[in-house]
């Protein structure tokens, strides 16, 4: 029976315990060319990066491109990456900045072209997402926020960064992060289904 090809190559003895390794050790192994270490980084960080991109841009193909490009950028820069820094915030910063960039450009297109508005609104409708979300209104409200505000909410609640970390990653004052979070949460709270019964 022919063996199935491995996506990330063969496993060396050093790679076997990668799942239990610290991130620093995994990054170090990836810098040395370990395919298994790269696979471990991908396994740990792809989903968060992809979801974060999607919830900022609200466009499936664009989110996939953005997250892929962020990973590839990270790989290309791996040699220069300082292992004393955590990998995830670095990757997420690439993802979120690119997602904000993309959204700004899409917004500009929306402003200049009626035809584009139609295309944008058409692309935005995603019945699957409505089914996945507890309420489609949550998505709609999230979409109604500005890209930077969406990014702050996503980083806080999907990627679980503290406001201080978000401020550092996005290069904005902590007070701005807090106020954007507060306004974002207030808006999103309106989308929650009404609770029934007593607490």
């Amino acid at each position: 029976m022919e063996a199935l090809p491995r996506l990330f190559g063969s496993v060396s003895p050093d790679d076997r315990s990668l799942e239990r390794q610290t991130e620093r050790a995994v990054v170090k192994a990836a810098q040395r060319g370990s395919n298994e270490a790269m696979e471990e980084l991908f396994r740990r960080h792809w989903r968060g990066a992809h979801r974060a991109a999607y919830l900022v841009v609200h466009d499936g193909p664009a989110a996939e491109d953005i997250a892929q490009e962020a990973f590839i950028s990270a790989i290309r820069s791996l040699d220069r990456f300082d292992r004393r820094r955590p990998f995830a915030p670095w990757l997420h910063r690439i993802v979120v900045n690119r997602a904000i960039d993309w959204t700004r450009a899409r917004k500009a297109r929306r402003e200049v072209s009626g035809e584009a508005i139609e295309a944008w609104e058409g692309e935005s409708h995603d019945p699957d997402l409505d089914a996945i979300a507890d309420s489609g209104r949550m998505v709609e409200v999230l979409r109604s926020l500005g890209p930077e505000q969406r990014a702050v909410v996503v980083m806080r609640y999907i990627l679980e960064y503290t406001p201080g970390e978000i401020a550092e990653i996005l290069g904005m004052p902590r007070g701005t992060v807090n106020s954007r979070l507060r306004r974002g949460l207030d808006a999103l709270a309106q989308a929650l289904p009404r609770e029934t019964g007593d607490d």
Partner: protein, 401 residues
């Protein structure tokens, strides 16, 4: 729990349930793309690198020593000086049938812009004034009078904007390719890579601007280097408009700017000198000023600078490096002491240099390792779109991935 905290917790739970569409398929596609990218990635080298300052000292010493050094391979090329009595290589190929290494060459000819593939096939993109590659070669930015267009390498139109004045220079950002800088009407402007948002940055001289590759892709600063009207080199963060650094005024007009692929070194060519600056505008290497630099180019990895200058054996192409003595790769020979080469262009892998020789109507492909030379003749006529006769010699606009 207060109402607010309870509400926040419910929002958080609702957000955590949101998923991107078709996550498993997207993950599998991404895994394959990332896998392929990692396979092509060169792992960190374990060899020690010469400290930057030590490297500077070596390069500067090489520059001062100049042509007193015996360049490796000079003997190999010496026969050229003694054997040829007319411009150009005798054994030049009559036609361009292939490029010596993977990639595509973009050409600015009087007949317009052309793309040459590795197999030597050529495509006429249209009657444009000038052209530039996008970072991964997926698009070409072209100027047609005052119109800036993005087309694909097959010549298909993508978008255009009207600049209001003739477009004099273009550079497509080197990081994610999302911004295009151009100069029109004495103004440096940046348009987004989809042609939607166009904004002025600063007054500028008509020297092609150069995007600085981001050494850290997370930085997302979008640093653009240009020459201002006072002949100073300026680095600006284009999204914020903040000036990051600015040099003193150069005495001679700045003729070209070119960043190394890692964004750590900027090559500045002025009247007769080539200067390498670091990524904060500091100067750490001056080229062979005494012999007169005509053109220079920096290798993709930033470790070498190819310099065209006049020397005792005619006009020469030399290679300066951090770690090795200067090497003379090619000489026009004593019979052609005043030969004028065009600007050298590195191949994407840095292994070859395309050296245009207009008066010989030849392109020379010079190998940077073993100094082999492959010459191709009759260049101008090969870019004569109408086939009506001998056209003018074309410029090489870039050699891309």
């Amino acid at each position: 729990m207060t109402d607010r905290k309870r509400t926040d917790e419910r929002v958080r739970s609702a957000l955590l349930e949101l998923e991107a569409p078709d996550e498993p398929s997207a993950e599998e596609r991404a895994r394959q793309v990332v896998d392929a990218a990692f396979d092509g990635h060169t792992p960190a080298q374990t060899r020690s690198r010469m400290p930057l300052r030590a490297g500077i000292a070596v390069v500067t010493a090489a520059a001062i020593a100049g042509f007193a050094l015996t360049p490796a391979g000079a003997d190999v090329r010496e026969w050229i000086a003694d054997t040829i009595d007319s411009a150009g290589e005798e054994d030049a190929e009559p036609r361009l049938t292939s490029l010596p290494t993977p990639g595509s060459v973009l050409v600015d000819a009087p007949s317009g812009a052309w793309v040459i593939r590795e197999d030597g096939s050529k495509r006429h993109l249209g009657d444009y004034d000038r052209a530039t590659w996008s970072p991964n070669g997926r698009f070409v930015g072209v100027a047609d009078g005052s119109e800036l267009r993005a087309i694909d390498p097959a010549g298909n139109f993508r978008w255009s904007i009207e600049a209001g004045a003739p477009v004099k220079a273009i550079d497509w950002s080197s990081d994610e390719g999302f911004r295009v800088a151009y100069i029109a009407g004495g103004e440096l402007r940046v348009v987004t890579g989809d042609g939607v948002t166009d904004s002025a940055v600063a007054p500028a001289a008509e020297v092609p601007p150069a995007w600085q590759p981001e050494s850290d892709p997370a930085a997302a600063v979008h640093r653009l280097t240009y020459v201002d009207p006072k002949n100073r080199v300026v680095s600006v963060a284009t999204d914020s408009g903040r000036v990051l650094w600015r040099t003193q005024e150069y005495f001679d007009p700045v003729r070209s700017l070119e960043w190394s692929g890692d964004g750590e070194r900027l090559l500045v060519v002025t009247g007769d000198s080539a200067t390498i600056q670091d990524d904060e505008g500091g100067t750490f290497f001056k080229g062979p000023v005494a012999t007169g630099v005509e053109h220079a180019a920096i290798s993709p990895d930033g470790s070498e600078v190819a310099v065209v200058s006049s020397g005792p054996r005619g006009t020469e192409l030399s290679l300066y490096s951090d770690t090795a003595p200067v090497r003379r790769l090619y000489s026009s020979g004593r019979q052609n002491p005043n030969a004028r080469f065009g600007p050298p262009v590195f191949s994407p892998d840095g292994g070859w240099i395309l050296l245009p020789w207009p008066e010989a109507d030849q392109w020379l492909f010079v190998n940077t390792q073993d100094e082999r030379v492959t010459a191709v003749a009759d260049i101008a006529r090969q870019f004569d779109a109408d086939g009506k006769g001998k056209a003018a010699f074309p410029d090489v606009a870039g050699w891309c991935c």
